[in-house]
């Protein structure tokens, strides 16, 4: 079982590190987007006003669309997000300013959406990225449970931490962080499988519904079932009175998503879904259905069955939409803990095997390969993440393909970090690779607030004057990360330290990657 834990952890460790790191960032997806598009200023707008503006814009600009989706602004989303299917097919997205009701004039950027998408699609074509992420999730589940079985003295080891003892310290740290947030680890891993279960484990849908799998989704989510549009036209009723009905029906829960099927046609329907911030379970099937022409409530559906609450509850816990500021930070810290657990595991794997070669000081090829991948996947990814934020501030605001170039910067920097790690690990030593990458990353993270003040300082001051801390919080988090990385880089200073300590701390050189796992 220890064997399984060791090897499953190694082979998928690098990928899981990237998934955990970007997933951790995704808990602040909306806040990151606010930072990358500082032009969009949050305003207090009532749901009714926002819905009215969205409806006006869509009626003027997308009257022949098959479907409209309207996401209303809330405390974390300053804009009105519109998605619609044009008659020619596909999807179009627009972001409306909640005050003017016109498309926002902001720099193009994927913002937090980029890290969120990467977390489960890995920048691969649909559906392969989701499959790979699901396979990684299953391996994580196996590694987690086999790790628990391997460490029988789990309670005792939780209170054991022996600092500055090399390999021992790493293992203590790995065990402590794993056990400390074990409920989070179990929840996040199991729920990640549940999120994509209809894709990865569809056998029971196929045997129950035959090849007609859309009937399964129609049963679950009646709100999204739509009839083909009829040719007869009819004006769409106002959405605002429907919001009032929803306020009566759903005590204390706001409307989140508005779906309009066949707008402008005689068989138009409007479905209202609840705002995910107001309850834990993810319940896309809970909806109020209205006749789109008369505005009458025709149907209401809910997801209160036990099995749907179980699956939806896990989905919701994973996404954390319901979390307020404090809980959101706890999610973030737990995510860092999970990332650190993976990082320490990778370091332990290499440290253990390095012991055998401590005398000669020369690592065999395969261990060098592992060290190269450790450096590139951990400090290299940290560099890639910060370069995304630098690109966001440095690329000209009016530059046409700037959103794509932010993403390209991310992957180019990651690729360069891999090349650098290759050169250093194979032609000098791993310590140099770690030191140089961590030093550069520390500088970039520490200077990010400075860059923000220089290039977008007016937005920062304006937001602080309004009492909005989002932009400043991201800058401060970057600064804290930079300080940690600088501390990490300092641990790799000088060659002599590693030689002296090599007897007792063969992996002392790698100790600091825990912090770097932010």
């Amino acid at each position: 079982m220890a064997w399984l834990h060791t090897w499953a952890g190694l082979v998928f460790g690098w990928l899981l590190f990237a998934i955990f790191l970007t997933g951790t960032l995704s808990y602040f997806k909306e806040e990151i987007t606010q930072w990358t598009q500082p032009e969009i200023v949050p305003h207090e707008v009532s749901d009714a006003v926002a819905a009215e503006r969205a409806q006006q814009w869509l009626q003027a600009n997308a009257p022949d669309a098959k479907r409209w989706f309207i996401r209303l602004p809330d405390e974390r989303n300053p804009d009105i997000a519109l998605t619609f299917n044009p008659a020619k097919g596909g999807f179009e997205q627009k972001s409306l300013d909640s005050v003017s009701g016109q498309p926002v004039q902001a720099r193009e950027s994927m913002g937090g959406e980029f890290f969120y998408r990467f977390h489960f699609q890995l920048q691969m074509p649909h559906p392969w990225g989701r499959w790979l992420a699901s396979v990684a999730a299953m391996v994580m589940f196996v590694a987690l449970i086999s790790g628990i079985i391997t460490h029988k003295k789990i309670f005792k080891e939780f209170f054991t931490f022996r600092p500055r003892k090399g390999q021992r310290t790493w293992l203590d740290g790995h065990n402590a962080v794993a056990v400390l947030i074990l409920p989070f680890h179990l929840m996040i891993t199991y729920s990640s499988l549940v999120i994509f279960m209809t894709m990865v484990m569809p056998a029971s849908i196929l045997t129950t519904y035959g090849s007609n799998t859309s009937a399964f989704f129609d049963d679950l989510f009646p709100a999204f079932k739509s009839a083909p549009p009829v040719s007869e036209a009819a004006p769409l009723a106002s959405i605002v009175p429907m919001l009032e009905v929803a306020t009566q029906k759903w005590d204390g829960s706001r409307v989140g998503l508005i779906t309009v099927n066949n707008p402008g046609k005689a068989n138009a329907t409007v479905a209202l879904g609840r705002n995910g911030a107001d309850h834990i379970p993810h319940e896309p099937g809970t909806a109020l259905m209205f006749n789109g022409v008369t505005g009458e409530l025709t149907q209401q559906s809910s997801m209160t069955a036990a099995s749907l609450l179980l699956a939806g509850g896990m989905y919701g816990l994973h996404m954390g939409h319901f979390a307020g500021p404090l809980l959101r930070w706890l999610y973030f810290l737990a995510g860092i803990g999970g990332t650190a657990m993976i990082a320490t595991g990778l370091v332990i794997w290499l440290g253990k095997r390095r012991l055998k070669h401590a005398k000669s000081g020369v690592l065999p090829f395969e261990l060098k390969l592992v060290e190269m991948l450790n450096v590139a996947s951990m400090s290299g990814l940290m560099l890639a993440v910060v370069s995304f934020f630098w690109a966001n501030r440095l690329l000209p605001v009016s530059f046409a393909a700037r959103s794509d170039w932010e993403v390209k910067t991310f992957f180019c920097v990651w690729g360069l970090a891999l090349l650098h790690a290759f050169g250093r690990v194979f032609f000098r030593d791993g310590r140099t690779a770690w030191r140089e990458q961590l030093t550069l990353a520390a500088a970039l993270y520490c200077l990010l607030p400075v860059l923000d003040m220089v290039t977008a300082g007016s937005y920062l001051w304006a937001s602080l004057k309004q009492g909005q801390w989002t932009l400043a919080a991201l800058d401060l988090t970057a600064l804290a990360t930079g300080v940690f990385l600088a501390w990490g880089a300092l641990r790799f200073r000088g060659e002599a330290l590693g030689v002296i300590a090599s007897k007792q701390t063969p992996t002392g050189s790698n100790r600091t990657t825990v912090q770097e796992a932010r």
Partner: protein, 121 residues
């Protein structure tokens, strides 16, 4: 883990240790056995989990008041709890052959139960 504090090895129940040649190389036979276990875990485990979810989705609506969509959701949710021990079994049992038998046996039973139920009801 401290060697002194580790429990005494129980060779009978543990997977066989890799047979190493005089040069310290792991034998080809051992490598193939590991590959076989990995295949058993991935494919055999998936088969077992799928069949378990198929049976659950079929029998839950008969036993409880639940719609077939709800039963399908629950069966998919729980299927991973069949996959996990299946994978662990493949690496805990003594030989690769046992790994395969331990998964294909229960899979055959589940498949037969489901086939009979479909045929009879």
């Amino acid at each position: 883990m401290d060697a002194a504090m580790a429990p005494a090895p129980v060779p009978e129940k543990r997977p066989r240790a890799p047979k190493k040649s005089a040069a310290g190389e792991v034998s080809m036979r051992w490598r193939l056995a590991v590959a076989s276990r990995v295949l058993a875990a991935v494919i055999g485990g998936y088969l077992l989990a799928s069949l378990a979810s198929v049976c659950l989705a079929y029998f839950l609506p008969l036993l409880f008041q639940s719609s077939r969509a709800e039963a399908a959701v629950l069966s998919m949710t729980l299927s991973f709890l069949f996959y996990l021990p299946a994978v662990l079994w493949c690496f805990a049992c003594r030989t690769a052959l046992r790994a395969w038998l331990g998964l294909l046996g229960p899979s055959a039973v589940l498949g037969a139960v489901y086939a009979c139920a479909r045929w009879l009801v």
